[in-house]
Symmetry: C2
Amino acid sequence: MEIKFAARTDLMQASEIREAYKLSAIPGLIAFSGGAPDPTTFPVEELKKSAVRVFDQYGPLAIQYFMTEGSPELREWIVEHMKKTRNINVPVEEVAIIDGGQQGLDFTSKIFINEGDILLCENPTYQGALNAFKAYNPTFMGVETDDDGVVPEALREVLSKNDVRMIYVNPDFQNPTGRRWTLERRQAFMDVIKDFDVVVLEDDPYGDLAYDGSLMPPLKSYDEKGQIIYLSSFSKIVAPGLRVAWVSASPEILEKYIFAKQAADLQASTLCQMIIADFLKNNSLDDHLKLVRKVYERKGGVMIDAIRREFPDSVKVNTPKGGLFLWGEMPQGVDTLEVLRKCAENKVAFINGRAFFPESGHDNCFRLSFSAAPEDQIPEGIRRMAEVIKTFV
Amino acid sequence: MEIKFAARTDLMQASEIREAYKLSAIPGLIAFSGGAPDPTTFPVEELKKSAVRVFDQYGPLAIQYFMTEGSPELREWIVEHMKKTRNINVPVEEVAIIDGGQQGLDFTSKIFINEGDILLCENPTYQGALNAFKAYNPTFMGVETDDDGVVPEALREVLSKNDVRMIYVNPDFQNPTGRRWTLERRQAFMDVIKDFDVVVLEDDPYGDLAYDGSLMPPLKSYDEKGQIIYLSSFSKIVAPGLRVAWVSASPEILEKYIFAKQAADLQASTLCQMIIADFLKNNSLDDHLKLVRKVYERKGGVMIDAIRREFPDSVKVNTPKGGLFLWGEMPQGVDTLEVLRKCAENKVAFINGRAFFPESGHDNCFRLSFSAAPEDQIPEGIRRMAEVIKTFV
């Protein structure tokens, strides 16, 4: 039988990052590829206690259908959290629970993107976002981005010359670069976009992971026109396997997410929402985050030290102040996909840079994650990478 | 600011069934509207024990990211279950875990439907499926269906005259009619479709809920050409709030579901998958189902007895042999949406029939669910309905 798929199905491909997850199952391979959080940071005992309490307290209602917009108790906590830590002041009606940040990426493009519409991203940007967006067949455009964030003059020029439908940004410890936008750049970004009818998806899974505990106001905290859709998640601050994240947007926009959620999967897991709500009620997220930040600061430091010892000077790697990622550049002309293939043979993996650029190119870039690999394997992994890199540069 | 949504977003609307769920929160209202399973059937203590075991056994891995296609252990169980109870023989590579059956509906239309493509459904069909499909803007067509299933001659005629891209059917205790196709009709359906290049989504959430425990072979068990995509779920046989279901299709097709899942939300909850897998390992689903079937047989019987006592003879209601639903017709000319509005004032709710027809019409039909309402409220709810109905007929 000839199977006729929809045209969009040809655009859906295996995510390179999820494929790298499979690669990481090779025995003995040290994986700096996947961006999974360090499992030693998960509050396993506390979540187990929460699970028991939830079953005891709610009985069958903990595993029954639930309202599409998500647990009222959890959404109330999120409202307080955003107010206290992000200077975002919204009522609970402007928050909905979704199944992980990835679902927010999918829904946003489903809601805003017609085939061919221009979708503007940082350069580079999160590859998983590009993967979600692709199914709706947008025209991708990148905007110039430096260590301080999106360059405002470049943004104004792109928006003036093109009918941009949606902008996707990740201002805090971005995946893949680990960059955090400066305060000035955040204000400048808002100054530019207020002159255009464009919506912005602000993705903030890592904002709580500044190693010094400092916090920056998200774009959403400056939003006066209802242009910003704010997306955050419990995946990196509690645990990802519960698949609980949230989206906050103006009522007119959030309603569309609720419709999308009803059509796509009805609701997030009742049990997982209740477990997280119970965990947050009975534990201090602040105290937990202090531990999490320490682990990542230490592991990032171990990786950077090893890189300084092992990598040739011509390979440049940045030093982030938060999050899970290092971003590097090899000399022009080196194809990091080739380097990756040789590295996999030498039992170490990372992600080559090309996949993070909306308009491709930048073949000499690469992302390293220090979150999932055990700390004591990091120096050896970097040593293995260095062995391979030296044959290329 | 003018917010520009994608064209498809206008097609996404609140599901009438999910809205009815909200209606059911009115104090004192007796809800025959939502199709939620009876919470007294949920194996709460067993699932709580499974949750504890999962945390103890897997520790942080129970809440870490997981492979997109889902738990290998759970998929192995599903393979055995389909072989033992459905005569479906497929390897584990042809099964993937998704977040509830609704996600299977969304993904299938995402994968197969271009705008305007013809999507053929039973007449009537599951309203939540129409809601999922709508976002991809198909041309809906209905095919004649009677108490025995889809009428084969009508199916052949529709397929001969139209370029049908996909067929959606629910042969076992269908939502909304409670009908189960006969064996002959299943074979006749397969005889017809093998002559056409069309894929069939077979939705089977209720197959295990025959009150006498009997099982019928799904269409998938006759599938020689890889035309059938089989969808089933733990929502009605264990509990829906865990959001765990599965899809089985030929490797060429299933690969697209994995890509869709990666892009849409990466994976189903690791914890919920592991809890269900542990539950199925340590408990007998057969024994559990015996209890579940008894509850629904009894509650359905209570509702039918009350209807015979209370409803005017001109209102016809069927008598299903399994599942959660009764399907009825009021005399021609009665608009059950008007009846529903009056009933809500009289503190009882059901679903009016129009929403279940792909091509609309049939305003005199209605669906009653006896699953979620407590058994002792069923007679009173039917009495309240009858009070209102008598003012219409």
